[in-house]
């Protein structure tokens, strides 16, 4: 009985701890301070309670030219835009040049093989390639941001070449 009473108290304390976590539902993400659950003074040697922060993403992809694909695929270990994607790039360039207030984020991606940080750098090479292709067509530099998701956001699950080929890509996202 004592044990279960103890557990009930423990659960209540745990829930109270959770409630103090920070919720970040706004965009852009802002930082708000959570109250420390219990301040740990230096040298106390005790274990610290870890409050949870919640991060939410609500940025939706919107805008862009109608009926034009937004994904450029790349060959294995390649970071050059293939000729078959030139018309797609041109359509996005025309759309962006029509209105200098339009902004686009190019999101580079890799397949799942290799380290997370190194793949982030490889995905960046793909997004930079698309950014440069758009720039060459006259899109202003300040309308484009090239970023990378590395291997973190695969379009297809699976560890075979067909999945990998779908994941080696750069997505053109309007914000």
């Amino acid at each position: 009985m004592k044990q279960s009473l103890f557990l009930a108290v423990a659960l209540a304390a745990a829930l109270a701890g959770c409630a103090s976590g920070v919720k970040l539902d706004d965009v852009p993400v802002t930082d708000r301070s959570a109250q420390p659950v219990t301040p740990g003074g230096p040298g106390t040697g005790g274990q610290t309670q870890v409050p949870q922060v919640t991060a939410e993403d609500t940025l939706a992809n919107r805008g862009g030219p109608a009926n034009v694909a937004r994904i450029v695929y790349f060959d294995f270990d390649s970071y050059v835009v293939k000729p078959e994607f030139q018309s797609l790039i041109e359509a996005h360039a025309r759309y962006l040049k029509q209105d200098a207030r339009r902004h686009v984020v190019i999101e580079g991606n890799t397949d799942e093989r290799g380290g997370r940080e190194y793949n982030l750098a490889l995905g960046q090479k793909r997004s930079e390639a698309v950014r440069q292709a758009l720039t060459l067509l006259g899109v202003r530099d300040n309308q484009i941001e090239a970023v990378s998701f590395g291997k973190e956001k695969p379009a297809a699950q699976g560890n075979d070449e067909s999945a990998w080929a779908q994941n080696r890509r750069a997505e053109i996202a309007y914000r």
């Binding site: 044990q3 103890f6 557990l7 423990a10 304390a13 745990a14 701890g17 103090s20 976590g21 920070v22 970040l24 852009p28 993400v29 930082d31 301070s33 959570a34 420390p36 659950v37 219990t38 301040p39 740990g40 003074g41 230096p42 106390t44 040697g45 005790g46 274990q47 610290t48 309670q49 870890v50 409050p51 949870q52 922060v53 919640t54 991060a55 939410e56 993403d57 940025l59 984020v105 999101e107 290799g114 380290g115 997370r116 940080e117 190194y118 982030l120 750098a121 490889l122 960046q124 090479k125 930079e128 941001e145 090239a146 970023v147 990378s148 998701f149 590395g150 973190e152 996202a173 914000r175």
Partner: protein, 429 residues
């Protein structure tokens, strides 16, 4: 009669009691593979009171010691009622070939806290080697057990134990990502950050109070520094392009990061409190994964400047880089032992990604695993173990620890889902 020492009582101050005491995931999954040649045989008897306490102290101590690779557990059965005040008959333990015997008790006090005491016996000499105790809240019973394991480890090996340190890791369960702070055995995990977007590259600050990491919550990688105890964080690097790979300087004042604001992925430094970024490298290719040496004077990093990713070293202010890895054409994710003697990294070998360790003085390299998707090595603060992520043969992601000779490995339990990106925190005061 027996060597009755003064009990030194230390209060492990337990902050908020009980939240972590629900032992839903407190199962022991130490899966030691391989055998070390010089393992110390020790019997850890279940502590008196373990059956009624929310944590089994004896089992935690034994699992800690086993995972270190330096101890071999001797069956502790057949010793009911032994505790730190007993004068045990040591001859049965000698017959079981134990060199050491740990006994103790966990007693619930009227105020709900626990009085935890233990004694370590030298079975061969028949001497008490160590006796100590703590009074802790229930939530800190695991910490008390880890501290006891640390004391036993230090007494018998001469090295500082790392069982009471903390690790950080990331899980992905469905669409949810969590950054966890857990005990060094992977248990007692508490979520520091929950997100619907990926989290990678957590890195403990040198004082163990903050975590730097890369979060994709704003649809691009940016670097945060997060105060773990307070639950507050600060956006440190959110420049145009991608921001990633935070590495702390040993004084905790500076972060080396990878930014793409000037085009490709290049290394920069930035104050740990935020501010302007100063460019460190000027290459036309990829420079990433910066890692300060313990003296703060050099930075190891990964670069493809020679045509394929290799690990290089340069002075911390930038400048000429010397190549460090020469075997193979894909070497990434450097980690340094605290004494600077060993470099752990991941090498692609015949399409498999394998944890390697190089003795820097000689350049000798040893492969430590038989898995094929190893990632993110990080040294324990005493330099005796490496934690890393890998994919098990059944496809599930796992966190493993290994000794530097690769002989003793243990799989750490984690929260549900895929588990990755471990970083081992520093010694804690």
């Amino acid at each position: 009669m027996h060597d009755m020492r003064q009990w030194r009582r230390r209060e492990l101050v337990g902050l908020l009691g009980a939240a972590a005491a629900v032992p839903a995931w407190a199962q022991f999954r130490v899966e030691v593979t391989g055998v070390g040649l010089t393992q110390l045989p020790i019997a850890v008897v279940p502590f008196r009171g373990d059956a009624d306490a929310p944590q089994k102290i004896g089992a935690i101590v034994q699992a800690d010691l086993e995972r270190s690779g330096q101890f071999r557990a001797i069956d502790p059965s057949g010793a009911p009622g032994l505790d730190e005040s007993s004068r045990p008959d040591l001859s049965p333990w000698r017959q079981k070939t134990a060199d050491s015997l740990a006994v103790g008790s966990a007693t619930r006090l009227a105020d709900g806290r626990y009085d935890v005491r233990f004694r370590l016996w030298d079975v061969v000499k028949g001497q008490s080697l160590l006796a100590d105790g703590f009074v802790v809240v229930a939530a800190d019973l695991r910490l008390a057990a880890h501290r006891i394991a640390d004391m036993i480890y230090e007494k018998l090996t001469g090295d500082k134990g790392v069982f009471s340190t903390r690790i950080a890791y990331v899980t992905k369960a469905g669409p949810r990502y969590n950054l966890w702070v857990a005990d060094a055995d992977g248990e007692n995990a508490q979520s520091a950050l929950a997100s619907s977007e990926p989290i990678i590259s957590p890195a403990w600050s040198p004082n163990g109070k903050q975590l730097a990491y890369v979060s994709f919550e704003s649809r691009k990688p940016v670097v945060y520094v997060h105060d773990v105890a307070a639950g507050t964080r600060r956006l440190i690097a959110n420049f145009r392009g991608s921001n990633s790979a935070p590495g702390w300087s040993p004084d905790g004042r500076t972060l080396a990061v990878t930014l793409t604001r000037d085009g490709g992925s290049q290394l920069y430094t930035i104050a740990a409190t935020g501010g302007e970024a100063k460019r460190l490298t000027q290459s036309s290719g990829i420079d990433t994964e910066p890692l300060y040496t313990a003296d703060g004077r050099s930075i190891y990093f990964v670069s493809d400047r020679g045509g394929a990713p290799q690990i290089y070293r340069m002075t911390a202010g930038g400048g000429d880089a010397q190549r460090v890895t020469f075997t193979g054409n894909y070497n990434i994710s450097p980690a340094l032992s605290p004494d600077g003697r060993w470099l752990a990294y991941i090498s692609r070998i015949s399409g498999a990604f394998k944890l390697q360790v190089m003795e820097l003085a000689t350049g000798n390299v040893q492969s430590l695993t038989d898995t094929t998707a190893d990632e993110s090595p990080s040294f324990a603060p005493n330099g005796r173990l490496i934690i890393y992520a890998t994919r098990q043969p059944n496809g599930a992601e796992a966190l493993m620890t290994t000794t530097l000779d690769g002989k003793i490995k243990a799989r750490l339990p984690g929260k549900g889902g895929d588990i990755r990106e471990p970083d081992w925190g520093p010694f804690q005061r």
